[in-house]
């Protein structure tokens, strides 16, 4: 919610020269570097501020001061802050995310193992939310009855108010425990069981973004139906269904793409909760475990992965809008 409300910029309606495209790409890459540095700085500072050194947390209260010091030295935690940040960044450029002090394996392997599950979850949620949200938004937007604005307004404010952990728990109780339609948690081993295990988490996560989707589609449909081209198409006898899907949907899809890409941070945040609620062995679950077990290198590495993902996805979103909207498409 946060990111979408704040960062969605109004779409400028004008064609861009090719040079501008490259300028956008370069600017976004610089932004990415800025985000990487800032995030590394934030995580390093936060870890340094944490009460009790990581080593004492790992070794437990009974450990001697000497062994704690030795481990801290080993982890490089006694160096000055800037040296630590510099070293972390240097490691990054060699593709090294550090290694876990709890699981004693590289962070990159944790990421590689858990990220596909989370991406599957997020993509399924997006597909669900889009498949449900677009027809509702279109139908309500096309209807001239005044009641529909109200219904959409109230309906979406109710949906947006449902926290995923509450929805998830209630779904587990109703559909998994009471009616045993779906498994209550965990992950499948073959495609069929994976889908079974995916349904409830995906629905829970979809509820998080379906409201903004409905609102966006509804608003742009209302705008579009007031435009002359919809009237003109109707006057040529083009059917309502065709107008909705061939004329209005492409127009509606541009702000929708922006919205979805700028929801990346919200979806990943939601996935953390949903994965814990449903016990999915995904990225969110892994990062939560790392935080709770004070596995600092893992926390830092995974946070960085999330931030980079979010920036990349918003960049892709910006570029997609350029391709999707002919008014902004490049002039050669």
């Amino acid at each position: 919610m946060t990111a979408a409300t704040v960062t969605t910029t109004p779409v400028q309606r004008r064609a861009l020269p090719v040079a501008t495209l490259w300028r956008i790409v370069v600017r976004k890459l610089l932004e990415l570097v800025g985000v990487v540095v800032t995030v590394t700085l934030i995580t390093t500072v936060l870890i340094r501020l944490a009460p009790g050194s990581p080593a004492s947390n790992i070794l437990g209260d009974a450990a001697s001061q000497e062994s704690i010091d030795r481990l801290n030295q080993q982890l490089g935690l006694n160096d000055p802050l800037l040296v630590q940040v510099g070293r972390n960044l240097g490691q990054l450029f060699t593709g090294n995310l550090g290694s876990s002090i709890v699981q004693s394996r590289p962070v990159s392997s944790i990421v590689a193992q858990s990220l596909p599950i989370t991406l599957t979850l997020i993509l399924s949620a997006i597909v669900l939310a889009v498949v449900v949200g677009i027809p509702i938004g279109l139908a309500a937007g096309f209807s001239q009855k005044r009641g529909y604005d109200q219904a959409v307004g109230v309906g979406t404010s109710l949906l947006i108010a449902l926290p995923p952990f509450v929805v998830g728990t209630l779904l587990i109780y109703l559909l998994a425990v009471n009616f045993k339609v779906f498994p209550a948690g965990g992950w499948g081993t073959n495609p069929v069981t994976i889908v079974e295990h995916l349904v409830l988490p995906a629905v829970t996560l979809a509820i998080l973004i379906v409201s903004p989707i409905i609102r966006s589609v509804f608003r742009s449909t209302r705008d579009a139906t007031g435009q002359e081209y919809v009237d003109a198409a109707r006057s040529r006898g083009v059917s309502s269904l065709r107008i909705a899907f061939r004329h209005v949907l492409p127009v509606v899809s541009v702000p929708l793409i922006t919205l979805l890409c700028y929801s990346a941070a919200i979806l990943i945040g939601g996935a953390i909760i949903v994965e814990v609620v449903f016990g999915l062995p995904g990225f969110g679950q892994a990062i939560n475990t790392a935080v709770l077990s004070r596995d600092y290198p893992t926390v830092a590495g995974m946070t960085l992965v999330v931030a980079v993902l979010v920036v990349l996805i918003t960049t892709v979103g910006d570029l997609l809008t350029l391709v999707a909207d002919p008014r902004r498409r490049l002039v050669k």
Binding site: M1, T2, A3, T5, V6, T7, E31, G34, V35, T38, V39, I42, T43, V45, L46, I47, L49, A50, P51, G52, G153, V154, S157, L158, I160, A161, L162, P163, P164, F165, V166, T169, L170, I172, Y173, V177, A265, I266, I268, G269, I272, I273, V276, V277, I287, N288, V291, L292, R294, V299, T303, V306, A307, V310, V311, T314
Partner: protein, 295 residues
């Protein structure tokens, strides 16, 4: 001729009444739910005179006359615990969002109305990084680094860390919203004329910029409260945030999760409290936005 004009004016004014102002039911409904929840949390000692943390032998009893919401696995009265949780969660949301709002809006308005845009640019770049980390993860990290057990002034464990985290993650958003709004207000013609008339900068900021910024910032603050209530519960559910035994809606739900088959009420009542709170605030925001659109 004058009679004609007179009659016309009269006829016109009778017909030209402004369109009926629709009040809408959302705002009153939202406020009513909130008032009921707050009153319950304030007057709970009268309704259910139990100690929220006192263990008793009557464990996992369903809702009854003695325990309206039933009891949990330690025999604690759930009504008292849910009511106190509402108090705690609302306070966290109000204090956390309130501080973010004051600090963020002040900085945002200053950056937005400053002639040089260096502060604004710096602010935007800093918020870019903060926004690219999911909100809940950032709060989780901050809570971790402050230490969840820190409890100055006898505030329950986890609460101070949570409030600081909410403030640290919240103010940049307020700053960003108010900066954008302030920048657009500052480019309006009436600001230029005010400057030409020689009004002081302070006067311009307080007379023109602040009122224009406040309505957007306040509606965002209300939406933010929903997120904070969800976040507080969600964190407790993750095992961070407010720590047991302090009653908190998310942590009560977390405790109820393992016994959901035998004692669903332990999960059900706090879930209802969270849903009702969020729905009430959300409805109110919707009502307020409708009113603004009608003007």
């Amino acid at each position: 001729m004058s009679a004609v004009t007179h009659a016309l004016v009269r006829g016109r004014s009778a017909e030209a009444r402004p369109a009926r102002f629709q009040t809408g039911w959302e705002l009153p409904a939202g406020i009513t739910i909130l008032v009921v929840l707050v009153l319950t949390s304030v007057f709970v000692p009268v309704i259910s005179p139990y100690d929220p943390n006192a263990l008793s032998a009557s464990i996992l009893q369903g809702p009854s006359a003695a325990h309206l919401f039933g009891t949990d696995q330690y025999g604690r009265d759930l009504l008292v615990r849910v009511a106190l949780s509402i108090r705690l969660d609302y306070s966290i949301a109000i204090v956390g969002v309130g501080f973010s709002l004051v600090v963020g809006t002040t900085l945002g308005v200053l950056a937005g109305s400053a002639r040089r845009s260096i502060w604004g640019t710096l602010l935007m770049r800093a918020t870019d990084a903060i926004i690219s980390i999911p909100f809940i993860l950032l709060v989780l990290l901050i809570v971790l680094s402050i230490g969840p057990t820190w409890s100055p002034l006898g505030i329950p464990q986890g609460v101070p860390a949570l409030m600081i985290a909410i403030f640290l993650t919240g103010w940049p958003i307020f700053a960003r919203i108010s900066r954008t709004q302030a920048t657009s207000v500052m480019s309006e013609d009436f600001i230029l004329s005010a400057q030409l008339m020689g009004y002081s900068k302070r006067r311009i900021v307080f007379k023109h910029v602040v009122p224009n910024v406040s309505s957007q910032v306040l509606t965002y603050a209300m939406t933010d409260c929903i997120m904070i209530i969800a976040l507080t519960g969600g964190l407790a559910f993750l095992g961070a945030g407010v720590l047991p035994p302090t009653p908190e809606l998310g942590s009560i739900m977390n405790e109820g999760k393992s016994i959901i088959t035998t004692a669903p009420w332990v999960t059900f009542f706090p879930a209802c409290a969270i849903l009702l709170s969020a729905i009430a605030v959300s409805l109110s925001v919707n009502g307020i936005l409708n009113r603004q659109n009608q003007k």
